[in-house]
């Protein structure tokens, strides 16, 4: 199940936010050993302070098993302000119709039999949510910065996107800047992915978005 949490309403979902930051720590800090800041067992950075839109994936027991965050490129974001070396010639993104996805996470248990199914399903769910949010905000493109493992995962899903520049070694991690175009081609690929993992377009995504104003 997907839940969409505007950052400014984090106080309303303290457990999910706590779970999400801890999952991010276990993935980015403990397992991938990225140079990220850990405070009180949370992986958290300055972009979290900017009230991004969080998308979290939950299992049947409502535990967070995946997530990502979205920021508009008109304000501050990772590609422009942290990974600008991945942009050609000092270019920067600043469009109301382009958002950035970052901190894409899926929980891995280490048990290959469980992971094979859950990881692909959670990834598909998060990608479907990204597509739905893009539609709700009438976006034209999505940009993201990712590592090689993520890039390979996306490529396997048929969602490699377009590289903005040659991948670069940043902080010891081979780093890719990708751009995706919203529209029919992406819809079709995500629908195919959803079908393969046994998901149908999840109506709870959009109703969760509407509910955000009610709760």
């Amino acid at each position: 199940m997907i839940k969409i949490i505007p950052g400014e309403w984090r106080d309303r979902y303290p457990r999910l936010i706590d779970d999400m930051h801890k999952l991010r720590r276990s993935v980015f800090h403990d397992r991938l050993r990225w140079q990220v800041t850990v405070i009180n067992r949370w992986e958290i950075d300055g972009y979290d302070a900017l009230n991004p839109l969080y998308v979290v994936a939950l299992d049947e027991d409502e535990r967070v098993i995946g997530g990502l965050r979205l920021l508009p490129t008109t304000g501050f974001n990772m590609l422009n302000d942290t990974f600008s070396e991945l942009l050609p010639d000092g270019a920067r993104f600043g469009s109301p119709l382009i958002w950035e996805s970052s901190r894409f996470t899926v929980r891995i248990t280490g048990d290959a039999r469980v992971d094979a199914k859950v990881v692909s399903r959670t990834t598909a769910e998060l990608l479907m949510a990204l597509n739905e949010v893009g539609r709700a905000a009438a976006l034209t493109h999505l940009v993201t910065v990712c590592d090689q493992a993520m890039y390979r995962l996306m490529s396997r899903c048929g969602l490699a996107g377009d590289l903005l520049s040659e991948p670069k070694l940043i902080g010891g991690v081979k780093t890719y800047a990708l751009i995706y175009e919203y529209g029919e081609a992406l819809d079709a690929r995500i629908a195919k992915l959803a079908c393969q993992t046994g998901l149908t377009i999840d109506p709870t995504v959009m109703s969760a978005m509407k509910m955000r104003l009610a709760s």
Binding site: E8, P96, A138, L213
Partner: protein, 255 residues
């Protein structure tokens, strides 16, 4: 509206430097698209003098007066839903179980704000936040179709309107490329903190003449008329910060 006409409006906005000029363009958009009202609200705009939010709205004088008298800015459910967020807010999604919220929308409807509304939150690189709203008179099923057809263009229009608002505050979006050399930034920062040229000379261990040289260089870089104006613009552009001295500058100081 024809696509070319829409991009004509965007062109007009990109040449405008004043809210009233942008509002004329907005008026054309509203009439061409059959929309009823619009409002633009800019918070934390990058001007050292304007702590108050920047507001421009086409609502009836009665509603604007009523809104001010009741201090509705403090409880406005639309602002509360949009503030700090990034997703477009359709007014029909706002929870109305609170009687205060119901009363607000009831009075708005009575004073001809419009029955449907859409508010688009925006964020820029000066720490500012803005909300661009359009309203429409009619029933929800038709509104949903109109909204879907217009949303992307509205997002573009809203962002360009916001750019005009920034320029009206003296901030050009193209000025984000300006970089102040550390010494100039340091002198301007101490100026902003009320120090005289002599004070700054002592703090930075340079001559007052050199301080004035740096201030003049910054003035010319920012294309401003005097030091006060330069300080204001540097603050607005986020080139200097009152709360801390950039660590890169500390190394320059002799012991």
């Amino acid at each position: 509206m024809h696509r070319d006409d829409f991009f004509d409006l965007i062109d007009q906005l990109s040449r405008a430097n004043r809210i009233d000029v942008a509002s004329d363009t907005l008026g054309r958009l509203l009439s061409d698209w059959g929309l009823h009202n619009s409002a633009y609200l800019g918070f934390n705009m990058p001007t050292p003098t304007a702590e108050r939010p920047l507001l421009s709205a086409t609502y009836s004088a009665e509603w604007q007066k009523h809104y001010a008298q009741k201090a509705y800015i403090d409880i406005d459910p639309i602002v509360r839903s949009g503030f700090g967020g990034i997703l477009p807010v359709d007014w029909s999604e706002i929870d109305r179980s609170d009687p205060i919220v119901r009363k607000f929308f009831g009075e708005a409807q009575e004073l001809d704000v419009g029955s449907q509304g859409l508010s688009l939150p925006m964020r820029g690189r000066h720490g500012e936040f803005a909300l661009f709203t359009v309203t429409w008179k009619g029933l929800e099923p038709e509104w949903l179709k109109i909204k879907e057809a217009l949303l992307r263009d509205l997002m573009l229009f809203a962002w360009n309107f916001h750019a005009v608002a920034l320029r009206s505050c003296g901030v050009g979006l193209d000025e984000k490329k300006i970089r102040l050399p550390p010494r100039e930034a340091s002198c301007l920062r101490w100026k902003a903190l009320g120090k005289t040229d002599e004070d700054i000379a002592r703090i930075l261990s340079i001559s007052p003449h050199t301080v004035r040289f740096h201030l003049e260089a910054a003035r010319s870089r920012l294309n401003t008329s005097n030091t006060t104006h330069t300080v204001a613009k540097a603050l607005a552009l986020g080139l200097i910060n009152l709360s801390y001295e950039p660590t890169s500058l500390l190394q320059l100081r002799p012991d």
